[in-house]
């Protein structure tokens, strides 16, 4: 009986173990098991010391190479942690503690600045250093909070160990960390499956870079605005496959947003697919081959083992990064065009190549950001918690972090020009964050936050002097309207407080910093196809962007100079003290058709047209008066019917006439789409281009006809007596026509044009038409021969000339149509041009 019981227990145990073993099977990792080593290379089981990732991973991988070939370790993160902290003089230990939320260790965190550190008295032997922490990126479910806590406590040496504390390998007790012997095999390796090493899942990237959600089943939410959500708090970018409608955020119109936060995340493109290791063999096939031109594939690629030993961690940098030494844009290695070909899928877009040359893909494909983000950071005041005052955009109440009761409506990024590697620049969506801080001394050295805190707070409450100066309603508290240095007296009192703490010449400095946006990409419907969004008076390209709802101390912030983003706009003061950035397309070197119409061109054009109309009304009115007076009078001269216009002449004339009228109408729509919309902007563009070419071809054929047939003589004035004839004709128009006199010159098939017509057509055919054709073809060619067109001044020069020419054409057209009524009868000329036959007065004594 006992025996049976034993067997049963053994069997049960085996079953449990098998079941456990199966349940412990974690997602695929072919990484072999390994021992955890401490900083001197001993197994942590024996030394009980902290694990060293550099040593542990260094058993197989060249961790020194990895540390030195990557921008993670070397990143010198300071912005936002302290106000404009670039010049902040702090010791290494302090720097580590300030930046640890976003720094993975190694680099500046491991290279000690002894000179400075000695003055702080930091005990490095006790704390250890913060070495590059492989575990943070390469283990699933790392305990980032424990890592940050260890570093904040100055327990640098244990930071890597704290990172893997979710894994059962290490246990935390009140005395510190201790290794769980059960988690190790007899050979000292961590048991299989307990610490599966992988290429980083998106979530791990998201630990420092912003909201990147790996689990589509958990609703996306932004619960804090700490520096760990960097790209989200600076730009509102969220990298998640989840639909907006399924997130846990209080989004405006949420149910209608059925798109994913980012289409790449939705399509299972992971962070590391674009931000990949540059020597990853899987991508070698696409690598350009240098060498013999007949080689298409580099077969001597890097072996996988070689790569695994020394994987470059120089991940494709953000494309808006700039090299601090050369001041030139860094090769981003990966950008939209690395994978996507814009040709073919933008058929609907006229001039797609031109569009691609001046705007980045992101402009349309990240047209709006649905999450809130920072707008203004005011370090000149501190909240009762000792933090700077932060105002957000895209959320009701301008406050962060988002709470369920505040509606998030997102924002439309501002478009700023950014230089391209190959020269030129393109617009890219950005967020701009303004910040103000106290600086001291002669330079712009920021006052450490600690000192500002001391100036404002004493014993956890506002200092009485601060309260006296800022508390306008005497409720012993500082509400939102009070906690801002918007009057000279407020600034003065805080300044006095800072001076009393020993600061020299404290003053408020402000800056505005742009942050490029590359994630939260959409496809399909959210992408606009509305031309008028940009090609209109209130173009998105120049939409004012709110930078701040108030300016501390009235200090106008400067745009920071250490980014590659071009400054193409102006800071403007809006209503209620709001600070706006107004981008300018012309400053960005762009002439946006429909948006950048020049007022002087339009004014001259309208003036010319009105002038012609007034002339027509006066002249026509007098003709009608004269006609009424002589209604009973006899017709002068004999009449005859002559065949005056051949079929071809009529054809080219009317082809040109209709084409030019539609060209003027479509051109008007392109020029002032807000006031005149007939065809739709995109159609107008296409029709205009097509008709432009028809006019050119028709003109060429007509010219050939005129030369070949000798009809060109019609247009050439005879030098002899031309001036007297012209005066004769002019006199007829200003006088004779009202007295029902005969036309001075008989119209014959051999001589259809009077001297004034001849001179008019000479000007039109030799100046106006060529000018229109040349400028028109150049504008059309802006995407085919960009260099050539830029060489002649680009659209900025060409477009106004073309527009002015069009106005002149319109003015001519009106006059031309009016003058057709001056024949024998008002419709005689018109009928001749349609049917070919005209009734004219027969001159017995032909004067010509």
């Amino acid at each position: 009986m006992m025996r049976m019981a034993h067997i049963t227990i053994v069997l049960l145990l085996v079953g449990v173990i098998v079941a456990l073993a199966q349940s412990a099977e974690l997602p695929s990792s072919i990484h072999p098991t390994f021992p955890l080593l401490d900083e001197v290379g001993a197994n942590v089981l024996e030394s009980d010391g902290p694990a060293s990732a550099m040593r542990t991973c260094g058993q197989c991988h060249d961790t020194a190479y990895i540390e030195s070939h990557g921008n993670h370790a070397s990143a010198e993160l300071r912005e936002h942690v302290e106000p404009a902290g670039r010049n902040l003089e702090v010791g290494t230990a302090e720097w580590i503690r300030l930046t640890c939320e976003r720094h993975v260790g190694g680099g500046p965190a491991a290279e000690l600045n002894r000179a400075l550190d000695d003055t702080t008295g930091w005990n490095w032997d006790e704390s250890g250093i913060v070495e590059l922490n492989c575990f943070l990126c390469h283990t699933p479910n790392p305990d980032n909070a424990a890592r940050i806590e260890a570093i904040k406590q100055g327990n640098f040496r244990w930071a890597s160990t704290a990172t893997i504390s979710n894994s059962d390998v290490v246990v935390k007790s009140p005395d510190g960390w201790s290794w769980n012997a059960e988690a190790f095999s007899s050979n000292g390796h961590v048991k299989d499956g307990l610490l599966p090493i992988k290429d980083p899942p998106d979530e791990n990237c998201g630990l420092c870079h912003g909201l990147a959600d790996d689990d589509p089943r958990l609703p996306v939410s932004l619960t804090s605005c700490g520096p760990e959500h960097w790209s989200t708090i600076t730009t509102g970018q969220i990298f998640s496959s989840q639909r907006l409608s399924e997130s846990a955020m209080n989004l405006a119109g949420k149910q209608s947003h059925t798109r994913a936060w980012d289409v790449h995340a939705e399509r299972l493109v992971r962070c590391v697919d674009c931000h990949r290791s540059p020597n990853h063999p899987a991508y070698c096939e696409n690598a350009p081959v240098s060498g013999p031109s007949h080689l298409r594939f580099k077969s001597r690629g890097m072996a996988i083992g070689e790569f695994l030993r020394r994987p470059s961690h120089d991940f494709s940098a953000r494309s808006s990064a700039i090299d601090s030494t050369t001041g030139r844009p860094v090769d981003p290695k990966r950008r939209c065009e690395s994978c996507h070909d814009s040709e073919g899928i933008h058929d609907w877009l006229p001039y797609w190549k031109r569009h691609m040359a001046v705007i980045s893909c992101e402009v349309c494909h990240i047209a709006a950001i649905s999450a809130p983000t920072h707008r203004q950071i005011d370090w000149t005041v501190v909240t009762p918690e000792g933090e700077p005052r932060i105002l957000c955009r895209g959320i009701e109440g301008e406050k962060a972090p988002p709470t369920p009761d505040r509606l998030i409506d997102g924002f439309q990024p501002v478009l700023l020009p950014r230089p391209e590697l190959g020269g030129g620049q393109r617009l890219l969506p950005h967020n701009m964050i303004s910040s103000w801080y106290w600086a001291e001394g002669d330079g712009a050295t920021p006052v450490p936050t600690e000192m500002v805190r001391d100036a404002y707070l004493s014993e956890g409450a506002y200092h009485p002097e601060i309260l006296a100066a800022l508390d306008q309603n005497d409720d012993r508290q500082l509400d939102e309207s009070e906690l801002r240095l918007d009057t000279a007296s407020k600034v003065e009192s805080v300044k006095r407080r800072l001076e009393s703490l020993g600061l020299d010449n404290p003053r408020i400095v402000g800056e505005v910093r742009p942050y490029g946006i590359h994630h939260s990409v959409t496809r399909g419907e959210p992408v606009t196809r509305d031309c008028r969004l940009c090609h209109a008076g209130d173009s998105r390209l120049s939409a004012p962007f709110t930078l701040a709802s108030y300016m501390p101390g009235g200090v106008v912030p400067g745009l920071v100079g250490d980014t590659d983003v071009g400054q193409s706009g102006e800071l403007m003061m809006g209503d209620d003290g709001i600070l706006l950035y107004e981008p300018s397309t012309s400053s960005a070197g762009l002439y946006v058709i429909g948006h950048d119409s020049q007022l002087w061109v339009t004014s001259i054009g309208i003036f010319a047209v009105i002038l012609v109309l007034i002339g027509i009304f006066i002249h026509g009115g007098r003709r009608i008066q004269a006609h009424r007076r002589r209604e009973t009078e006899e017709q002068q001269g004999r009449l005859k019917e002559i065949y005056i216009y051949t079929r071809y002449e009529r054809f080219w004339h009317w082809l040109q006439a209709v084409a030019i009228i539609i060209l003027i109408l479509t051109g008007l729509e392109l020029h002032i789409p807000d006031s005149f919309a007939l065809f739709g902007f995109g159609n107008a563009v296409s029709i205009h281009s097509t008709l432009g070419f028809i006019v050119v071809i028709n003109a060429l054929f007509a010219a050939f006809y005129h030369f070949a047939s000798g009809e060109i003589r019609q247009y050439l004035p005879e030098p002899k007596g031309f001036f007297s004839q012209a005066i004769h004709q002019a006199r007829y128009y200003v006088r004779g026509i009202f007295r029902n006199e005969r036309h001075p010159f008989e119209k014959t098939p051999e001589r259809k044009l009077n001297p004034l017509q001849q001179i008019t057509y000479l000007v039109i055919l030799n100046i106006l038409l060529p000018l229109q054709v040349l400028t028109g073809v150049a504008i059309w060619g802006a995407q085919r021969w960009p260099d050539l067109v830029t060489g002649v001044g680009g659209l900025t020069i060409l477009a106004p000339i073309h527009t002015l020419g069009a106005w002149m054409f319109a003015a001519f057209l009106l006059m031309h149509i009016y003058l057709t009524t001056t024949g024998h009868s008002p419709m005689a000329n018109m009928r001749a041009m349609i049917a070919g036959w005209e009734t004219i007065e027969e001159h017995g004594d032909n004067e010509s």
Partner: protein, 485 residues
């Protein structure tokens, strides 16, 4: 002489032609218009108001039918040609059998209430006829066709045992209401299969009578009725269910109305060759009401606490599930079928209607299924399933005596019973085509293409997730030419 020459001129026509053609040619191309699904929806002809036409008196069902036939003389004969009436289709070849067999509800078993043999009167309350109470029912009498079941619109009609109208139905009032069949008409049987609302199908339940958009986009948003898709001519209603048929004849498909590449996104259209529309567009069923997932007959007969969703003495124990996430299998529209007398292996679940298709079958696509699993009575000697008599004298539900119930049932069903019985597991596959959602709730890439996704790629025959490994490469059949002589 040409003084009166017309103002009209061929020149103007030529000018316009020269202008218009290039303009149209060079106009920017918009995304191509996807075809219009409404073109596939039949025109809804308004029904004639019959309230003045039906005069009565109508003492019984057939008297109503006689009135109908006065004006619609062919209607009953048309109905009598259909599977709705015969509960039996055209003869088809069933895998494992050599001669074509006409199958249908009349002779098949399932793993719910098992079979109608010996249980006619209860089951036939859903038969569109009057009086099918035993095997002697004549299928040739037009007057026993029940027009009202499908055409009454009053909502006050009910059928009872044998298909007879319930006693207190005012047949005159009901007859006056007749019109075009509504969701409620079809649903009176199809939403209540298995003996109650939502029990059987999972994707058909009473919530579809007046569904919200989220439950079904066709019926909820667009107000479509069953016969908009199940197009009907001469009372032959199209549509197929592999619970009672194995072939594709008279089947309907999403592509009857929708394009086979209806998405603006090429990448998604790339799926349609291997993934049925239903797979993405029916991410869950039994949205409002739980459906039966498991039925263990072997637990019946005990005096346990009763709960119609967990245990009934007369039926055994059940499991129900609400918000059911489907299972996914290859399916080419055809199925295998267990027929009475077929041998089984009681140690493994017997698939009663295994859907056909596989990764190598170019006509098969991955479909969503509700799989109803059961444990039902079989003959341990003959190794085949048995049909118990459920109701009436000797019925299991009245006497709780399995032996007597299957003995009586076997006689009616014409199968052998050795006297020894046991219970064996079964599976029944229900392909899902209703409770369709639009883009707002469709499956997204990551639902399948990610670790822990919905698809078991290995089981489906792939080497791994096709997003990394590539899809199935089905080569067209190469017809070898005869060698030249």
């Amino acid at each position: 002489m040409n003084r009166r020459r017309s103002w009209r001129s061929p020149v103007i026509v030529l000018v316009l032609a020269v202008l218009v053609f290039p303009i149209i040619f060079f106009l920017p191309r918009g995304s191509e218009k996807l075809d219009d699904p409404w073109a596939g929806v039949p025109e809804r002809i308004p029904s004639t108001d019959h309230s003045a036409l039906m005069k009565g008196p109508f003492p019984d069902g057939p008297s109503v039918t006689r009135a109908c036939l006065e004006c619609h003389p062919d209607a009953a004969n048309d109905v009598m040609q259909t599977a709705h009436w015969k509960w039996e289709g055209d003869p088809v070849l069933i895998p494992g059998h050599t001669t074509p067999i006409a199958i249908g509800k009349k002779i098949l078993i399932n793993n719910f209430c098992i079979g109608i043999q010996s249980n006619w009167s209860g089951c036939t309350s859903c038969h569109p006829g009057y009086g099918w109470v035993d095997e002697s029912f004549s299928f040739d009498d037009p007057e026993t066709v029940d027009c009202l079941a499908c055409h009454e619109r009053s909502g006050n009609y009910a059928k009872t045992d044998g298909g007879y109208p319930a006693e207190d139905v005012d047949l005159l009032a009901v007859a006056k209401s007749v019109g075009r069949s509504s969701r409620e008409n079809c649903g009176s049987c199809h939403f209540r299969g298995g003996g109650g609302g939502a029990v059987k199908h999972g994707d058909l339940d009473p919530s579809l009578i007046n569904p919200r958009e989220r439950v079904d986009v066709h019926m909820g948003r667009h107000g479509m009725t069953c016969i908009d898709c199940h197009k009907t001519t001469k009372h032959l209603i199209t549509g197929r269910s592999i619970s009672v048929s194995v072939d594709r004849a008279h089947g309907i498909s999403c592509t009857d109305c929708h394009s086979s590449a209806p998405h603006a996104d090429e990448r998604i259209n790339g799926h349609t060759g291997a993934v049925a529309c239903q797979t993405c567009h029916i991410p869950e069923v039994a949205i409002r009401e739980a459906t039966k997932m498991h039925w263990d007959w072997s637990a019946a007969g005990q005096d346990l606490e009763e709960d119609s969703h967990a245990y009934l003495k007369i039926k055994g124990s059940f499991e129900y599930e609400k918000g059911l996430r489907p299972e996914y299998y290859w399916f080419n529209g055809e199925a295998n079928r267990y027929l009475l007398g077929d041998k089984i292996d009681p140690s493994a679940p017997t698939a009663i209607n295994m859907p056909r298709g596989g990764i190598a079958d170019a006509t098969a696509r991955i479909w969503p299924f509700k799989v109803h699993r059961g444990n039902q009575i079989y003959d341990t000697q003959h190794k085949h399933f048995l049909v118990p008599k459920a109701i009436g004298e000797g019925g299991y539900r009245t006497e709780f005596d399995w032996d007597r119930a299957v003995r009586l049932g076997s006689v009616s069903a014409g199968i052998e019973y050795s006297g020894e019985y046991g219970f064996a597991p079964t599976e029944m596959y229900w392909p899902l085509s209703h409770m369709v959602t639009d883009r707002t709730n469709v499956l997204q890439c990551r639902d399948c293409h990610d670790e822990g996704g919905l698809m078991d790629w290995k089981a489906l025959g792939y080497s791994g997730d096709p997003i990394h490994w590539g899809g199935r490469a089905i080569r067209p059949v190469v017809v070898l030419m005869e060698p030249a002589r």
